[in-house]
Symmetry: C2
Subunit: 117 residues, 2 copies
């Protein structure tokens, strides 16, 4: 999915950037399997780049810059669908994941199950 | 799923409460349909109450208090499984949702699709 700059800005203007560094929470779900792959953060610019290019871009809290997922690893994410939540501070993205989402080599960043030991 | 207080505290001690008000991001997914229902925030205490009671509790950023999902609406969420992400600042919860998750009456808070108009 790709939007025009005008459409992307219209969406971006409706959100509530209440999170760290003026971001919304991005939840990323595999469009086919429905597995939740990762959570990241987006400022207005990262959201607009995502919507206009069709490739997932985030705001890195640690590096304090926008990055495209897969820019070094090649594990890019193509945007399939997106949904804004009811209070506008989180966005759910359904993506086609190339390779794996987790930098530790797992498909999903949520690979550590909470269990009794 | 329920853990002992000791087990819950052990999990809670491993997380990175880097978000607003010292919280982690909680992504809530329907355990059966895999639909993403909502995103909320948890401080250490909300996480421990969730893991020890088996009922989802969150930190409300607006009301600045812990609340149990469904405490007024009856739309409680039973914890089925949980996964911590690779950097420990987000937790994915698979739940059994009673009624709907969204206060606007929809099953999921992510009911506003982003589209060209």
């Amino acid at each position: 999915m790709k939007l025009s700059l005008e459409e992307a800005e219209r969406i971006a203007d409706r959100l509530w950037y209440r999170n760290v560094d003026g971001t919304v929470v991005a939840v990323v779900q595999d469009a086919e399997t429905k597995e939740v792959l990762m959570v990241a953060y987006m400022n207005r610019e990262a959201l607009i780049r995502t919507l206009t290019t069709g490739r997932m871009h985030y705001w890195s809290l640690s590096r304090r810059r926008i990055w495209m997922k897969g820019e070094t690893s090649g594990n890019v994410q193509d945007l399939v669908k997106a949904y804004v939540d009811c209070d506008g501070d989180a966005v759910l993205f359904l993506v086609r994941q190339h390779g794996v989402a987790c930098h530790e080599g797992f498909k999903s960043c949520f690979h550590n199950e909470v269990k009794s030991e």
